[in-house]
């Protein structure tokens, strides 16, 4: 910068004078660079109809995670055998646990002992007689909406995974609140043998997720979640 030859422009206001130093070159350079960058950015991202949008980027992200998660799983059948075999698979139980913590822990507590919602760790249940009832209660809700319905929020596979985790909480036997219609339920049946080492009864490797299986657990437009 031109420290040596400063030129006062002869302006003086209340004793304040001004130099007429030229603006530094790098200032112009960066300013024009930002303008140029902006022009190119606009052309590339806003004028090209094929440029990725936020929605399409999100869809890609989602598809990638679904693929990673569910390529092996396919679309899970909503039957007892599938549920029981998921309960025996620590990898998929961990996935169910994460969903449980995000969605269920606010009422049933992170360890399942129950707060506003009932204890899930003992042998007593209010609306459940068999493992598959857990899936139904989570999908449709129960007790006048005290248990919200989740079918519009979780897809078919997610319902099965979180149900498997909930079923697996049984046996921890922590103390916690119960329900008025609590009754003791017979132990869960044993999981069927898995000859191929794979999770029980998956369908073809159709990417799971957005559509569910379209049978019993598909998101239903006519059902309002706790509506």
């Amino acid at each position: 910068m031109s420290e040596q030859n400063q030129v006062a422009v002869g302006h003086e206001y209340d004793g304040i004078r001004e130099y007429d130093n030229p603006t530094p070159g790098w200032w112009h350079l960066i300013f024009f660079a930002t303008v140029l960058f902006s022009a190119f950015y606009w052309i590339i991202w806003e004028m090209d109809p094929d440029a990725p949008t936020l929605a399409s980027t999100h869809e890609k992200q989602q598809a990638a995670v679904y693929k990673m998660q569910f390529a092996k799983l396919g679309t899970l059948k909503q039957d007892e055998a599938t549920l029981l075999s998921l309960m025996g698979d620590s990898k998929w139980l961990a996935v169910g646990e994460s969903m449980y913590k995000a969605n269920c822990a606010s009422c049933h507590a992170a360890d399942g002992h129950g707060m506003v919602g009932p204890n899930l760790t003992d042998d007593k249940y209010g609306n459940v007689k068999a493992p598959l009832d857990i899936v139904r209660v989570i999908a449709d809700g129960a007790n006048s909406g005290a248990m919200p319905a989740w079918r519009n929020r979780l897809n078919g596979n997610e319902l099965m995974l979180v149900s498997a985790y909930v079923a697996s909480l049984r046996g921890r036997n922590l103390s916690g609140p119960g329900l008025a219609n609590d009754h003791e339920v017979a132990p869960w049946p044993q999981a069927p043998a898995k000859p191929d080492g794979q999770t029980g009864s998956s369908n073809a490797a159709r990417p799971a997720g957005s559509t569910g299986d379209g049978v019993s657990l598909a998101p239903s437009a006519s059902t309002q979640p706790n509506g």
């Binding site: 420290e3 006062a8 422009v9 302006h11 003086e12 206001y13 209340d14 004793g15 304040i16 004078r17 001004e18 130099y19 007429d20 130093n21 603006t23 200032w27 960066i30 300013f31 930002t34 960058f37 902006s38 950015y41 606009w42 991202w45 806003e46 949008t53 936020l54 929605a55 999100h58 992200q61 989602q62 995670v65 679904y66 990673m68 998660q69 990898k91 996935v95 994460s98 969903m99 913590k101 995000a102 822990a105 606010s106 009422c107 506003v116 919602g117 007790n143 909406g145 005290a146 919200p148 319905a149 519009n152 929020r153 329900l179 008025a180 006519s222 309002q224 979640p225 706790n226 509506g227």
Partner: protein, 773 residues
Amino acid sequence: MSGLPHSSPGSVTSTPPAAPGGIRMDAFVYDDAIVRKFLAATVVWGCVAFLVGLVVALQLAFPAANLGIEFTSFGRLRPLHTNAAIFAFAGNAIFAAIYYSTQRLCKARMWSDKLSALHFWGWQLIILCAALTLPLGLTQGKEYAELEWPIDLLIAVVWLGFFGTNFFMTLKVRRERHMYVALWFYIATIIAVTVLHVGNSLAVPVSATKSYSVYAGVQDAFMQWWYGHNAVAFFLTTPFLGMMYYFLPKAADRPVFSYRLSIIHFWSLVFIYIWAGPHHLHYTALPAWASTLGMLFSVMLWMPSWGGMMNGLLTLRGAWHKVAQDPILKFYVVGITFYGMSTFEGPMLSIKTVNSLSHYTDWTIAHVHAGALGWNGFMTFGMIYWLAPRLFQTELYSKKLASAHFWLGTLGILLYIIPIYAAGLTQGLMWRAFDDAGQLKYPEFIETVAAVIPMYWVRLIGGSMFLAGALLMAWNVLMTWKARPAVYAEPVHDAPPLFPDYDDGVAPASELTANIKTGKKLDVWVKAFWHRVWERKPLKFSLLVLVAVLVASLFEIIPTFLIRSNVPTIASVQPYTPLELAGRDIYIAEGCYNCHSQMIRPIYAETKRYGEYSKPGEFVYDHPFQWGSRRIGPDLAREGGKQSSLWHLYHFYDPNQSSPNSIMPRYTWLITQDTPFSGIQARVRAMAMLGVPYGKMVNDGAAEKAARDQAKAIADDIRRQAGPSGLPEQYPADLENKKVVALIAYLQRLGVDISKPPPAEAGAATASTTRGH
């Protein structure tokens, strides 16, 4: 100050008027009494603003600090803190600076002492109204524009009617031919703030204390952040640059570094700033083109902002030895440095990918405080220490105390912003962390809150130090005032009035020889002779500023409102029921938007946590929008149906019971206070006026009946959900009458319409009374 020799304005000499007897001289006295008033108000309100900031910061680390009182809960006090800091502290500081410097730069007393007084007392009345209404929960629910419509009207009158008129008339009667750069920035401030305030605050009143924004959803969000960001630009930047241009060369006794730079950075700042607002809405339901414009203009804003910083810091060349000894210059150096840091960080945060991490986190809070404490705070403190001895016509009581203030303040800022930057990064990274199985690593929101609480405690230490410094200043100013003379001297100044004919002289010729014509023209143009002409025409200058502000605004506003594809309609999205509307108003009054967003971004980590991302069509009946800007608690856009109504009831009574470690305060008063059912009809009618299709619900008594029916249904549901043992005794028997039920009705409606079937026939447009049970 007195006896300054009259200097010929400008480099161009001109012929004096042919008045008999030579040049007539006017004698005049500056009005410093008004500056003293604004200075005192700045000191007092500054301490108040910092203290309330400390209280809300404490509440974040320790929620019980609100003492369980509704008037001191975080959601109501946080707007008080921001309003006090911006409009009371910075506002009065701006006025002190403008009233002191404008008179001297114009060689004229303020045009009207009456308007000056009306301005001062009117502004203090506004602050008082804010301090009373915000804790009462009277708010429009838009950040930094919370004040209700009667106060908004008062602001418009005081700002433009009293302050603006007084300022522009002073320009008209000035005796200095050309306007100095500080005055340009004051002009931009007054014009732009008027446009922004009026544009964003348009509302339909329901009663004297309640109104609804005329804009809804996406458009309301756009207008709010067009206003919100330009409040930063034209309330916290341009007037402070004007302040810098006057007080810094005064304090350093050095000429301003570059006249040319001040021209180029002034105009680029004024034109470019206006566009930048949408960067507050990246990844939201705002159309992508607007968001992109917001980002690009923010990036382009970097150098215009740094032009101001350079003109400040480079003015100190040759005076750095003074900085070591003078606390005033120290304040200025640190203040301008923070300005440079903030205006680099701002463009960086506006880049979409950076913003996807920083948005909704404490990073924004740290950024804002680097600017507010560092730039606005320190520039003001420097000005106060410079002004106090001059206004009170004595020595500053203690230079040592001023130095102590500087160090306390500087360390306080660092101890504030460093932990809060860390908190922002920590929480942002935790929100988006996935494990190997593609699951959220921290699925429980509360984990991400617990992680940053220790940093909230450190912030509290920093904030305390900053406040302690301000208190030292208050003491210093008070003691200086005490040593004032019995009667203030009022030196009489003289200057000739401006004569009507003025010859600008001829534009300088180009010194280039070997260039083409265009090159020579450009060479003349950059010498800015044309601008010198503008500088002696305040009306033309002001109109050009107005055009710059309006043109830039309309480029974004017109398409936002007119292009239909911006907000694709969703047939199943219906108006809120009357009870849900009443509940929404409680949500707004309690300031829930200060901690909860209602805007799920199309980012997988976010849809995984909260559900389907928010669509523009979901907000068409939201007057005002409630997207929020910070997630101290989780997003609520899809809260409807996620928890049982019973859970919500328990949670409002004691959040810690149902979510251990929650820092949400208890809302016990919602369980004891009645919903104002009788006022619901008027609210529905006001909404209908704004075009919300309420059908027959506007008929006398219809809305109230519907609201009571729905409240009964929800209360019955809650009792059923509680089971045969019933609700614990702390919950009233007439639960249906209580505010909490209306609020639960609203929360259970959030985000559920999108998964409903569209209404069968046109008649069904009337909001259903049975919804939300």
